[in-house]
Point group: C2
Chain length 768, copies 2
């Protein structure tokens, strides 16, 4: 294939193909669907953080008019009712114990939501209360009550081995990841200074605009599920196992999804909806409230102890990092998140001697799973805050310290993994320049901060397939398993197809995502769709192109390699080009037929790679903040925020900027506002009044998002993944700016006015 000279559709900020549909309210989400005979489900949830389930009696509820059936533990025993993203520790409804406030105990199906709601109160449940653990500290304390009475702990030891994960048997630690590189003890001995700090990250929620919702319909031995999810194939596999069906008998359809951020990965509301439909043989809709989504999945609170040894002139020599991730009552993706937190704790720096230990810990709180940043957010907060502490303590400029230690392009992150695929200094310098780093703030209580981070792409081994179907008029339909969660793949992937086939965007349509007919895709996650699915889509389009050119060669009587595509026509060595529809009609002998192209991408495996598979690409985020702290109120004013991301090649620059800005805003929420607050095992703020997410008025007063395009990505036209990078540095960039402004270092998030005000008061009264 010859190198394309210039891009015409890819690389442009084309308007979103789903834009009009969405802003006019016509776009169909799962909640918009109605099926004939559809009934409505409500879930009875545990009011206690930890209790043995003595009795669940649904007879009174079932007698209520309008109630069709009630699902309890008695119904599910013939199913493979246990499930989970990594461990099968969760069940459709609670069987033996409840493990957090909100744990599903039973579910009612009724002709309307009101009847279902009313029936919840008629289910007789008897609990035997057990002592709960609701924090990492409580959970890992010796003799702590056990959330799960399991005897084993899964451990992954990589690199230089040490430690004895067996010690966690019979504790609340459900997963352990250890990684060693070099001899960390010697590393610290050789260091001029060793710094040790402990950072904490709170429990936060995804808060998608659309809470979890699904519709399940069992017909005979065939289950169809419409759901708001990010990984329909994975969900299909889980449901098939649960209901003991071949994969071909489970069909998952994904309408538009109103935000995911990882919260709609793996199995969520679907088993309850499906089990009710299995029992009642009717279509079942289960739509969670915002409060219930808060009680379904969250981000892992973390405690990160980080110890770093440096030379006097600021070279990093050794790092020890001990991470505890609170995965809540069920593991969900917690072990994978924990593994990634551990692996990503090295940061973008050259550190010869490393020891990382990461633990996932059960507590009696809402389960924590995948969430934009996937383990990186917590460790970046720690290591990038500490970088400033080190700079400050050594009296080196924070930018200089980073530049001195950043990995170079082509250098190993760890042996066997993909070498660093971009110039880490480039983005950092870009951010520093935009922040006018060298210039001191002109007013008091103002300060600047920088942060820089790197993450490998994603938590799963990636396989993505795509199909492109060119109809007899030359227009094309794309079948892709990437979910349109709002992040824009319908547009970007359509641009890839349009580019390869020299079509305009309005000739491309994206088919409804339906596991029956859409090629397999692992999941929409890890900033990887444009790269991973992008390659599959590009290959599918190229396959169509090949068929089209071969047909054209026949029809036009020219050699394939003399033909090119341009604006819907095949151009040969002479003439004005032949439109695709004419080629196809002549080739098939009728205005009929089509070309179907297939494309596949899969990650490589490598025994040398620490995690078994070298990363598809490195996602890099650079951020810089300038803040002003109000000494009277503790309010942090975000004067300026600068973000840079390495996108390789932006398929749609405007969408990339939107993703980056959205990521930053997420980070602002985590840094300044968000925290799920527990008291006596009860979540106090599961709603938008008490749990605050940032809105437009919380945008930085000046906001820059830079896309760095060097075509250094493995994706189509040199694209790389992006969308998480913007989020990762925010907390430490702001934390560093606050420290720079008022001389106070915060170790815990969020930096709410009360917390900042108290710290200012404490500093004043201590006279420092």
């Amino acid at each position: 294939m010859k190198k394309r000279q210039a891009l015409t559709v890819a690389g442009t900020s084309a308007a979103r193909v789903d834009g009009v549909e969405k802003v006019t309210g016509r776009a169909v989400y799962t909640g918009d669907l109605e099926l004939p005979g559809m009934a409505f489900a409500k879930v009875l949830r545990s009011p206690l953080p930890h209790a043995r389930l003595v009795k669940v009696d649904a007879r009174r509820a079932e007698g209520l008019p309008g109630v069709l059936t009630v699902l309890t533990r008695d119904d599910i025993r013939s199913l493979n009712y246990r499930y989970g993203a990594t461990y099968k520790d969760q069940s459709i409804v609670a069987v033996d114990k409840v493990r957090y406030v909100g744990d599903p105990v039973a579910a009612v199906l009724a002709v309307d939501e009101a009847a279902a709601d009313e029936a919840l109160g008629l289910i007789d449940v008897e609990y035997e209360e057990l002592p709960p653990v609701t924090s990492i500290e409580e959970a890992i304390a010796p003799g702590a009550p056990l959330v799960h009475e399991t005897e084993s702990v899964k451990a992954e030891l990589r690199g230089v081995r040490y430690g004895a994960p067996e010690r966690f048997k019979g504790t609340n630690v459900c997963y352990y990841f250890g990684y060693g590189q070099g001899d960390v003890t010697t590393g610290f001995e050789k260091s001029d200074c060793v710094f040790e700090d402990v950072f904490r990250f709170p429990k936060v929620q995804h808060y998608s605009l659309e809470p979890h919702v699904s519709i399940a319909h069992f017909q005979g031995d065939r289950l169809t599920v419409w759901t708001s999810c990010q990984d329909p194939f994975n969900l299909r596999d889980h449901l098939a196992a649960m209901f003991k069906l071949p994969l071909s008998r489970v069909r998952v359809i994904v309408p538009y999804v109103g935000g995911g951020y990882g919260g709609k990965l793996y199995v969520k509301t679907e088993p309850i909806a499906a089990a009710l439909s299995w029992k009642a043989r009717r279509p079942v809709k289960l739509a969670l409230s915002v409060e219930e989504s808060f009680k379904t999945i969250t981000r892992h609170p973390a405690r990160v102890r980080i110890k770093t040894g440096v030379t006097r002139d600021g070279r990093l020599l050794a790092r020890e990092c001990e991470i505890y991730m609170d995965t809540g009552a069920y593991a969900d993706a917690g072990p994978r998140v924990t593994q990634k937190a551990g692996y990503r704790a090295l940061g973008p720096y050259r550190i010869p001697q490393v020891r990382v230990e990461a633990h996932a810990v059960y507590t009696n709180t809402v389960p924590a799973g995948a969430f934009r940043g996937f383990g990186s957010v917590q460790v970046t907060w720690a290591y990038e805050s500490q970088m400033d502490l080190i700079a400050e303590r050594l009296g080196i400029d924070a930018l200089e310290l980073r530049l001195k230690n950043l990995l170079q392009k082509g250098e190993d992150y760890t042996p066997g993994d993909t070498p660093v695929d971009c110039d880490l200094k480039e983005g950092l310098l870009k951010v520093a320049r935009a922040l006018d780093w060298k210039r001191k703030p002109t007013k008091p209580y103002r300060g600047k901060g920088l942060a820089c981070c790197i993450k490998d792409a994603g938590g799963t081994f990636k396989i993505a397939g795509a199909t492109v179907k060119m109809s007899s008029d030359g227009s094309a339909v794309l079948l892709t398993g990437t979910v349109e969660v709002g992040q824009g793949p319908r547009t970007a992937l359509s641009q890839v197809v349009a580019e390869e086939l020299a079509l305009s965007l309005d000739q491309i349509a994206v088919a409804e995502l339906d596991t029956d007919v859409t090629p397999y895709d692992v999941s929409t996650s890890a900033s990887s769709s444009t790269t991973v699915m992008g390659l599959a889509v590009q290959r599918a389009a190229q396959d169509v192109k090949k068929q089209l050119l071969q047909a054209a060669a026949k029809v036009m009587g020219e050699k394939v390699d003399r033909l090119t595509l341009k604006a819907g026509k095949v151009h040969g060595s002479k003439g004005k080009g032949v439109p695709y529809d004419k080629i196809i009609a002549d080739y098939f002998g009728s205005r009929a037929g089509e070309f179907i192209g297939k494309g596949l991408y899969r990650d490589k495996k490598s025994k040398r790679a620490v995690l078994g598979s070298p990363t598809t690409f490195w996602e890099v985020g650079w951020g810089g903040a300038e803040v002003e702290v109000d000494p009277e109120t503790g309010v942090i004013r975000l004067l300026k925020y600068v973000s840079a991301s390495d996108v390789g090649k932006a398929i749609n620059p405007m969408q990339c900027e939107g993703q980056d800005e959205g990521g930053v805003l997420f980070g602002i929420g985590h840094t300044l506002y968000e925290e799920m607050i527990y008291q006596d095992g009860q979540l106090l703020n599961p709603n938008l009044i008490d749990y605050r997410v940032p809105t437009f008025r919380h945008l930085p007063e000046e906001f820059h998002s830079f896309l760095i395009e060097n075509r250094n990505g493995p994706g189509p036209f040199g694209a790389k993944g992006m969308g998480e990078g913007g989020l990762l540095p925010v907390a430490s960039a702001i934390g560093n700016a606050v420290a720079n402004a008022v001389g106070i270092r915060f170790y815990d998030l969020p930096l709410t006015p009360p917390r900042v005000w108290r710290a200012l008061r404490a500093k004043e009264s201590s006279g420092t």
Copy 2:
């Protein structure tokens, strides 16, 4: 590919995969669907057979509460509002004239059907009556009123040319097909006897249990249509042209269809539903009543003059056949049906000199289009009735006469077409034996009759694609454009996949038919799906098999050609075989991924073939009847009916028998009961009370259906098409048996008791 030794799933009478769903009422048909915001359409139809449209004023109707909009000719001018299967002579609603009683004049969209119905009465329409033509005779009379004021007539002259189709310019003849072979004048001169007879076939309706129904939803520049149709891709193409959209922006989904028989081919209710949705931007359901379906599409009434020259000992020497097909007010598929009637008028016999002229004629009656048998039914009634007349007149046994003239296997039907692909004598002798042909009836008023016919496969150049998607557990989903109209392709095609992939039927699912994702298929018609789509499906399954074997070779470390599939496992040179799921997981390195296989079939083109493309296969029908005529009432009692069909290889014998029996029952309806009766241009019996279709009590008292399996078909495992063959001989077999019983030859159908009784009286009174 090695020859498979024995079939395990294909060739068995497996239970229908959709059987339970259908008998329990869970199967979803278009009428079962509900969409949020869906509104309901009703059609205002012309009360006059022929009139100029002076005024259509919908203002009063639009003012009625509940009415959302009214579609009139004023709305559609910006669209390509003219459409038609062959000519664009029909419009979404009438523009200049109405041409039959029932012609759509306007359509109302309302929040419910009652409001829509009421509003129909408030549309002010002013007509200027025109004289109608309602029969072939009226239509072809000199100076007849013109249904369409067009100046041209499409003519196809094939073989030896003669005639001057230009003479039909400016008449109601809209299509002319002429075919000549040898010199028919000399043929008649050389003949010892020349027989000339005129036969008539009445207007009948498909009477699908499910009347026409569709739902259309315009969203932005994207149209989705759910409809009960047999050719979704063709429909998509028409709708895209009508609304000026790329094919990728029109999506047609076909739920289960409750019977089609050709009546749901091409464009029917969909343009009105789509235009209303285009105007109102809401989902629109248009469900016709039984009476409205009667006013939508029918079979062509025909007049067939057939002149045959024979030698004294019964060899056919020459045939001249003049066919008039009444295509009603719009051409629909009429020209194609007429072409086929002409081409098929030669029958299964060797006739050296032939001249055929077939005409499609417009009349002011309901349009006639595709209908099971597609032009064959009318001409078979003529030529097989005449064969008995010839036998009688020459004093030769009717079976002997046929055997003497039947084409042999391998002989040309016409030069350039596929040679006859089966032994025509085999089936005829089978039927004769089952009828105990040589034995004279033991009682008076009893008689036996035989008939035999042959038809080429279908009216369109056939292209069919299919995809098979094998998931990581080894189960498979089939994507096929063949519509499940009740004829069983879901089961038969699943059997083909199961056979090729050594799976059980419950591991195969058939995906919803959706033009966005399903590979292209021309149409579900012409008894061709098992052969044509069957081959595409088989090739798709073989493509999966190839990929699976290559993966297995890698995983198992064996050579591909040493591997075989058996019961869900890959067997190599040793060991017990490896299950597919293990092969796939090992190959992809994860319980993920899948194999997607593609298959394509397309007909050959040939300039030598009379119709441009040699037939895919020959469909043959043999039938024999024994009847008793009640001299007092004229009632024909069907004592016995024997049918034989050449199926090549029955993929599902029970389904084939069901198709054959269903075909025969259709034929019984046409022969004994069915006729649409017109008076003053008004259809008098558009309902099941006055229009009688046969029911279970009209089954023959003894009924045999023989499948002849010689694996001589081009389809999977040697299959051929079937399903129409059973129908074709019925009328003449019964007509011949009646003639044999009471010595009266009927030239017109149906053979109702009054008609038979009157003929018996006439014969009595004439004393013959």
